[in-house]
Every structure is written in C-alpha cells, then in structure tokens.
Amino acid sequence: MGNILNSFNDDTICAIATAMSDAGIGIIRVSGKDALSICSKIYISGKREKDLLSHTPNSIKYGFICDGDRIVDEVMISYMKAPHSYTCEDVIEINSHGGMLVMNEILSLLLQSGCRLAEPGEFTKRAFLNGRIDLTKAEAVMDIIEAQNRFALESSRAQLSGNIYNEVTSLRKDIIYQMAYIESALDDPENYDLTGYSDQLKDKLLPMINKISSLLKSADEGMIRKDGIKTVIIGKPNAGKSSLLNALSGSERAIVTDIAGTTRDVIEETVRLDDIVLNLIDTAGIRETEDLIEKIGVDRAKEKIEEADLCLYVLDSTSDVEDIDKDIFKLCEGKKTIVILNKNDLTPEIKISKDILPMLFSGSDTIDFPVITTSLLNREGLDDLKAAITDLFFNGDLAPKQEIYITNLRHKKLLEEAAGSLQLVVESIDKDLSEDFYTIDLSNAYSSLGEIIGEEVGDDLVEEIFSKFCMGK
C-alpha cells in the first residue's frame, strides 16, 4: 500500500512551469514535503557550499545545479514554505537560464533525486485540495494557461479574484434563506407564518432569475470573447474564399490557385484579428474545392451556416449576380453575416458595387448585412472586416463592458439549470401549490450554483476539470 500512498499526495512533484521554448529564463517548480531536501541534492550555492537546507523561506538564493561535480546551469532558487505557497506545500522554484536542453536536464535530475513528474494540472489540483483556492479559481488558472487573447486573460483573472464566486455565493445565500424559512414554517407553524409568503417569494425570485439571466447573457459574449467566434466562409467558386482564409491566417500555407483542390488542410483552424478570435470551420472544404455550394449541396451549406456564429460571405465583385448567389444569400438570413465584396482592386471590371448590391439581392435600397469591400490578394480591407465583426458581436466596442463574464461552458450549463429550477418554483407558486413543493426546486438551484464553486460534492467533476490542466501550473 505504501506505493499508492506515495502516488497520492505524499510525494513531491516537479514540472517545467514555463512554456517550452528557447526563451531567456525558464522556471522549474517543485512541490511537496521533500522539495527542499531533493533540491539540495542537486544544488550548490554561489559559494560552492551545499547549504540549501538552511534556505530562509520566501527568499531567493543564487547558485548552481550540479550533476555530481558537473555544473549544469547557473540558477536562482526561491523557496516558499508550507502552507504559505501556491500549493500550500513546500515549494521550490528553480529559475534557470532556459533552453529546452538545460531545462530537461534539470528536470531529469530532479526525477532521479526523488521527485515525480507532475500530472497535468497537479499543482493547481493540490492548491485546490489543500483549500488554497476554490473550484472557480482552479478553473480560472486553467483558463489563464489557455488564454488565447487579452480578453480571455482579463476574464480569467477576474474569475481568479473571486468575482463569480462572490456572485454565486450571494445567490446561494438568498436561496438558502428562503429554504430555511419554509422549513422553519413547516416545522413550527405557530411561530413562522406562511400567509402571503408565496407572493413575497416570487418577488424575490424574479430578480434572482434576472441576475442569472444577465450572467448567462454575458456567457454568450464571454465565451465568444474567450473561445472565439465560430465562423464559416461561404461563396461561389473563385470568389476569393481561399484568399480570405490566407489573409486571415497570415501565411501562405495554403496555396492560392485557380485550380481547385490543390491543397488539403485542417478542417477547423483558429485565426486572430488582433483581439478577435475566429474559429474557421470547414476550411478544408474551401481549400479542397471552391465549389462549396455546388459540390456539397445547399443542404450541407445550410448545416454549416447553422453551426456557425458568423458567416463571411465572399462575393466576387467582378462577376455577375447569379441565382446561386441569391440562394446563398437566403441561407444567411437570420445569421450574423458580413458580405465581403472582393477583388475591388480590379476597378474596371467591377460589376457589383457596394451601392447597387442591395438592389441586386433584395430589390430594395438596403440589406440586413454589413457590406465591406476588400482586395484580399493584397490583404486590403481586413480592418473593415474587424470593425464589422466588432459591431456585430461586441456592440462596436472590444473593451469588456461588465465586470463579470461567464466564460466557462460548465458554469453556463449550471447557471441555466439554476435559472430553470427557480423558474419551476415560480411556476409552482403560480399553480398555487403549497410551500413544501418549493423546496425541491430551490434545493436544485442551490446545488447547481454550489457545483459552480465546488461547494457541492459533484461526482467526477474534479477529475474532469483537472485532467484538462496543463503541466506545471
């Protein structure tokens, strides 16, 4: 049984905590009760003495990592003593000069000296298990690690500072108060009166449901900000879809050619327009053949469009409007769509201009979609595209507008459940059911909210969350 216990939490773990690159400095983190003694085996101080064991907590020492007599690297070592560290255990951080080779060598020295390689997310897992952080904070750490853009980072930081925790906790407090009141009244009707209570409760529930709804609204925007906008590029053959893809990708990985099907690439890829993240779907289709509509049929195209948050509809401004253009146009109705009039550099040949486009498509002066003109081969017009997306998704302002954004699918789902449960209480009140029925759904709402912050014991939740973590954080 000894081994099992060692593999639980008694052992000391290590991992490279910074990105694996040839950056100037890299950090290797060691956590566990033997952190100090293990590190002292491979360290000598600047004065060439092995004096790590006398390291004062919360200070930094200068020295060398050695493999026997051989010096591996010149390092700074910081020591944080339990419980005043990230994991609440003894933590040593070795700041090395980086370089993948050197870092790996230090890591393997640590492993030989008694450390175990940390599992993904294990440092944060220990922090959570040792009561250092709550579940939302643990998730925020994961998000920060994975943050793709500035917004995602900000939002994760806000979460880490406890914004969601505070919101959810205050909602739960209100719910438990109502449950307690009902229970008290059921058990002690003489001293707790329920006359007129259900109306009062309803008055309290509606603002709570609104509160959750507004959190949920922020979830849609929040998740788009964090995870990106699911985007599909559509258009007739040769309109310039591949050129758009290349302009967005910022590389010539895909060969733009007049001959369809010259490249075969990824099915979905992520591109960035500064702080806007676009997740492009079915890019292989575009690269495989420009002939999206004809090849896969209108139904498939429709499916793709439905799946997406955003349609980029590329039109060749030098060709005539055909029926198929109008078909595609119809498919986009009700979807956030940007019409991209491409090849505007070929001025003499322009057949569709921004001005006449509405008339050509809808027979009126306006259309529902923003229209921009581009010359994608020359990478012109991307700023307009960015502005159009910002208008469509962020009300024209990329700066976060509220303090809390729900950016986590798990939180979103649980908030939806909580709102649903509270709504059921309102229904019970409207149906004139007696108070003892309310507590069933109140307690469900309470549990759902509790699961968000880890105050409710979920089944396999914790493992699921931590398995997603990166190594070493």
């Binding site: 049984m1 081994n3 099992i4 216990l5 593999s7 639980f8 939490n9 008694d10 220990r126 959570f128 298990l129 040792n130 009561g131 229970e183 008290s184 059921l186 058990d187 002690d188 003489e190 001293n191 059921l424 149906k431 004139d432 059911l433 007696s434 108070e435 003892d436 029925f437 507590t439 069933i440 759904d441 307690s443 469900n444 880890g454 105050e455 409710e456 014991v457 089944d459 914790v462 493992e463």
Partner: protein, 643 residues
C-alpha cells in the same frame, strides 16, 4: 447467593417505546428475549405528551408499521382522538396524529408483550454489562474491541445473551427539577436506574447529559373550557396501521381545547426567569430547541404576544389534562401564577407539576448505522438513550436495533434504510453522523426527499424490507405486491385513455369550471388540473374498475405530482452515487495526507461507512470529500494494478 446464570439470546434494557419494539422484533424472529423494566406496570408508559404521531412523527409510526412494528396497531386501539395534520399543504407533510389514552396504550402494549412467544418481561434493574475481549481477527479489523456476553441485574443474577439492546430512556441517573426543588427520580416519580452508567463508562462508552421537560397536568374539574376553542377529531378516522380495518377505528372521539398565553403570562415568566434551573445554570444537560419550554419561547420570541396552549386529556381513566405548549422547570409557585393567567385556567389546580428531567445518554457517534456500538460487538442501543426525544423516534430506533441485533445473531444481512427510503433512515443517519448537541427530534425538514417519503406510501417503501427480515407475513407481502400492481396499471391506463375535444366533453369541462379542451387529452392530464381529481372525473371514465381508497390515493398523487416526484428521484440518484462509494472499515485517515486537521479528526471520530455519510459530517467540507474520493480511487487503482 448462589450464582444463577440464565441463557437467553437477547436482553432488552428498558420497556419504553424503544424497548417494546426491539423486544417484539427479536422474539418474533424466534430469539429468546428478556425485556427488563424498572416497573412492569409502566410498560410503554408515556411520561410526557399524550399523543402519538404528528408532523413527521406520524411518518415514523407508519414506517414502523410497514416494517412489522407495533406502535401503529396499539395506538389504533388506544386513541381518543385522531387528526390528519397539514391537509392544506402537500401530501409530503400530511401527518397523522392521535391523542392517546395513556393507560390504555400501556395496557395494550403489555398484553401484546405478554402474549408473544419467546418473550419474557422481567422487573429488575440491570446494573452491569458483561463482555469479553474480541479474539476474532476479522472483527478486530472492523474496529470491534469487545463482545457482549450478557447483563447482570441488581440481585446478582446473570443473563447470558448474544446481544444486548440498551433502551434506558430518561432513567439513567435521572433527576427532576421544578425550580429549586430537585428530586432524584425517573419521570413521574418512578425509580431511576443509578447503577448502569458506571458500567457503561467502564466499558469505554462515552456518555453525556441531556434534559427534557414536561408541562403540568391539571385537574380537569378546575378548567373552564368555555373560554377555550374546542378541537375535534377527524371524521372519518384514518387508522395508523396498514393492517387495521378502517371500520374498527370509527368511534366517538374526545375533544381537545385551544387557548393562549398572554403578556401577563410572559411577564410572570420574565420576572422569575432567574429561578428557572436552566437559566440559573443548575441544569447541566442540554435541552431540545424544537420542543422548547414556555420560558424558552418567551425568551426566544420576545415580540410574540401569545403562544398556543393545547389542553388535552391524559386518558379516560383520569380527569388529568395535559397543558401542551407550556412545559417548564420554574418553581411551583411561579407555575401556579403563570398557568392561572391563561384563559380557562384561572382557577386551575395542578395535579402534577411541570418539571425538567436530566439523564445520562450516549453520544451516538459511537454507533454503526445498524445502531450497534462500533467497539462492542453485540451491544445495540436505541431511543432516548441515543440522544433522541419522542416516543416515535424511540420506537423506530427500537425496531431498527431489534431487527439488526436479530440479523447479527441469525447471521443474516442487516436491515438498512437510507435517507431516500424512509424517515427512519434519516433519523438513524442523523444520529450516527451528526454532532447532535441537543435531544434529536424528527422533523419533516430533516428529510431531503420528503415528497418521496410520504406517510401514505410507507408500506410501498418499506414493507418489502419488513418481509425480507421476516416480520411481515407472506400474506401481507402478497397483498402489498397486488396493491403496487393495481396502482401501476391504473396510472398507466389513465395516461393512455384519451378523451376527445367533443361537445359532451366540453360541457363536462364547463360544468366543472374548467377551460375547454383544445385537443384530445388523457385522463391523467385532466387529473393534473386543480379542479379535477380521480373521483370527480368518474363520469367521463366509464371503463374504470372499482379500486380501494388507498390505491386511488396513490394513483392520484403519482399523477398529480409526477414532475416533482421525478425531480426528487433525480436528486436521489445523485445521493445514491455517493452512498455507493464505500469507505473501507480499516481506513487510516492519517494516510490521507491533504485532509485538513478538523476533517481528519471528525472522520476519525465518526468513521463513516461511505462517502455520502462522510459528506454529511459537520466540519468535513466538500474539498475534504474530494480529497477522500481521490484517495479511495487511488487505492482502488493501486489494487487493480497489483492484480
């Protein structure tokens, strides 16, 4: 004196409500049983209130009956008035409550004990537990240190027994307090049991001191009922027992009376509060918050202008009236003054004073969920000795402990009822899992899955368990299966049977002030409308069979509250997941290194059998549970790897 050794199977210490159920269960399962009592003339005595049942307690009585216990059957014979409480609320909180004729109740229970094979009543004070050290390695592994071998009574006679069930109620080293007047007696002046406590402590059992109280009994002739509101019983009366023929319980009932305290009453109490032994610090025992004395109520709710007082008969053998709602430990002179401020009691004469009683009881964290002591094999305990209060709580535990003692002796599987299966499960789990710093009283709020644990379906929930342990006959069990089948098929039929939106239907709807049908609708959907019920749609349901009333009741509840019931069932599913994650009996919490100190101490103290139970222990938070789950998983994975 010559040493006399009697050989029996089970010794029951105490013949109150817990002891009687425990004794009957063991004897009925064929075990030679002796029930010891300080007074054979006070078997199943009701030293406090004269009722059986009430909110959530009525549920317990129904469950006792479903499992094959006796309380429901006895009260069906000995009641003076019967009422279904909370009928304006949902079916989950409907509760049956009966006023009992105390003497009749006691006599009836005694008759049943005396008529029971394998059961002997013995009037004697049990003075000592007898036990030996455990030799069996596997039992040691489970944490047992000793094995019970019997009891010794004051006269020196030894009863060798395979199991002993402690049901000592409020009798251990008890003392009664009325203001400054303290008597060292059991309830109602009965003899206390002063010797056993020391033996229990020697056996390593941790005891503590609890208190409870009772109001005064008045001379009925001194009460002016014209100033009180008369409280009638229900007509017709619904019996407690599933086996009682409803026709047998329709009889003239005796009334109770409602009156109120007032500011004058409260002033007297406030002015004399320093003479209350509790507020003066004379009482060391902790009293029940949920069964407060009138002093407590006045202190706790200073703004309330009045408190309810129910005046209830003690029986037909006496004119004593029980003053419900005004238990007290104030001195008798204050009591007289205080009671006489209450309308109708202006000239009252006190037959028996109100008093508080203090007694030794056990810290039930020392118990397995079977109600066996964790360290002493074969020693079980039940009732007020376990720190509960109330006749029904006691009887439920008595039955549960009795069955499990018998199962242990017979080498059969223990009876287990979890929180989603019965109030008994909630009661036992709360007792063995929580700190319980005051006498534990059952309440509907303690049951998370209340809508499933109704008093009306106790038989459907628990009778099969009673059958499995051997207390429910084949015949009764078959009847239960038949009932379940009838309910299921009728619910099914009502869901399938549709009525069209035709003219005759619409006129039926109109006649019943219901909105017209838009499309064909099932009968079940109609029943869900508040204006309809199973009975009043009979004219549009010509195909229905004539079903028994209890079947119709279940059909209606099942259909009407389907959504709520299914949501509770989902909650239960979640609950069961954690209950199924077992914790090895020999776990060493010191090995679980990231547990916080408080959690480790609490887990070590209660040694829960599964993760669900662990999560309910105070001081163990969700993060601790996560740690524990991961630890157990790592053990499991380790074992799998070794194989």
């Amino acid at each position: 004196m010559l040493e006399v050794r009697e050989k029996i199977d089970v010794a029951i210490v105490g013949a109150g409500h817990a002891g009687c159920e425990a004794a009957l269960a063991c004897a009925r399962l064929g075990l030679e049983t002796v029930i010891f009592t300080m007074s054979a003339d006070n078997i199943a005595f009701m030293p406090c209130n004269p009722h059986i049942g009430g909110s959530s307690k009525g549920h317990l009585v129904r469950e006792i009956d479903a499992l094959g216990g006796e309380m429901g059957k006895v009260i069906d014979k000995a009641f003076l008035q019967s009422k279904m409480l909370n009928t304006s609320k949902g079916p989950a909180v409907h509760s049956l409550r009966c006023q009992a004729d105390k003497m009749e109740y006691s006599k009836e229970m005694r008759r049943i004990l005396e008529a029971q094979d394998h059961l002997t009543i013995k009037q004697a004070e049990v003075s000592e537990l007898l036990y030996e050290d455990i030799a069996d390695e596997s039992l040691k592994h489970q944490g047992y240190e000793r094995r019970i071998t019997g009891v010794k009574i004051f006269s020196g006679i030894i009863y060798e027994a395979k199991a002993v069930i402690l049901c000592t109620g409020t009798y251990l080293k008890s003392r009664c307090l009325t203001g400054e007047a303290i008597t060292y007696s059991g309830p109602n002046g009965l003899q206390p049991s002063n010797l056993l406590s020391a033996s229990l402590i020697t056996a390593g059992i941790e005891l503590r001191r609890f208190k409870t109280g009772t109001p005064a009994r008045m001379d009925g002739n001194s009460i002016d009922y014209s100033k009180m509101e008369e409280q009638f019983g229900d007509d017709p009366v619904i019996p407690f027992s599933f086996d009682t023929d409803p026709a047998d319980v329709q009889k003239p009932q005796v009334s109770c009376w409602l009156t109120y305290t007032n500011e004058k009453t409260h002033d007297i109490i406030r002015n004399n509060i320093d003479r209350s032994p509790i507020y003066a610090g004379v009482i060391e025992g902790v009293g029940p918050r949920y069964c407060p004395s009138i002093e407590d109520k006045v202190v706790k709710f200073p703004d309330h202008e009045r408190h309810q007082v129910f005046v209830e008969p003690e029986g037909t053998y006496t004119n004593e009236m029980y003053i419900d709602g005004m238990s007290s430990s104030l001195p008798e002179d204050v009591q007289l003054a205080m009671y006489r401020t209450v309308p109708g009691l202006e000239n009252c004469k006190i037959v028996k004073c109100a008093y508080a009683i203090e007694y030794d009881c056990l810290c039930p964290g020392q118990l397995h969920p079977t109600l066996e002591l964790k360290k002493i094999r074969g020693l079980f305990s039940a009732g007020q000795f376990n720190g509960s209060s109330g006749y029904e709580e006691a009887a439920a535990q008595g039955l549960y402990a009795g069955i499990n003692a018998a199962m242990e002796i017979l080498g059969k599987e223990f009876l287990s009822i979890d929180r989603s299966e019965g109030y008994i499960g909630v009661l036992v789990d709360d007792l063995v899992t929580k700190e319980n710093l005051e006498p534990y009283r059952m309440m509907t709020s303690r049951a998370e899955y209340r809508l499933l644990l109704r008093q009306d379906n106790a038989d459907l929930r628990l009778r099969s368990k009673g059958y499995e342990v051997g207390l429910i006959s084949q015949e009764k069990y078959d009847a239960l299966l038949k009932k379940q089948e009838l309910i299921n098929s009728e619910v099914e039929r009502l869901k399938k049977t549709k009525v069209g939106a035709n003219a005759s239907m619409q006129s039926f709807m109109e006649k019943n002030n219901s909105t017209p049908l838009k499309t064909a609708t099932s009968l079940a959907e109609l029943i869900c409308r508040p204006e309809f019920n199973y009975d009043n749609i009979s004219e549009i349901d010509p195909d229905r069979q004539d079903l028994p009333a209890d079947v119709k009741e279940q059909v209606e509840i099942t259909i009407r509250y389907e959504g709520y019931i299914s949501r509770q069932l989902r909650q239960v599913e979640q609950f069961k997941k954690l209950e199924k994650k077992l914790i090895p009996a020999d776990i060493d919490y010191n090995d679980v290194s990231s547990l916080r100190l408080e959690a480790r101490q609490k887990l070590e103290k209660f040694r829960p059998t599964n993760i669900g139970q662990a999560s309910r222990i105070g001081g163990v938070n969700p993060a601790d549970i996560t740690v524990l789950v991961i630890y157990l998983d790592s053990i499991k994975r380790g074992q799998a790897n070794e194989e």
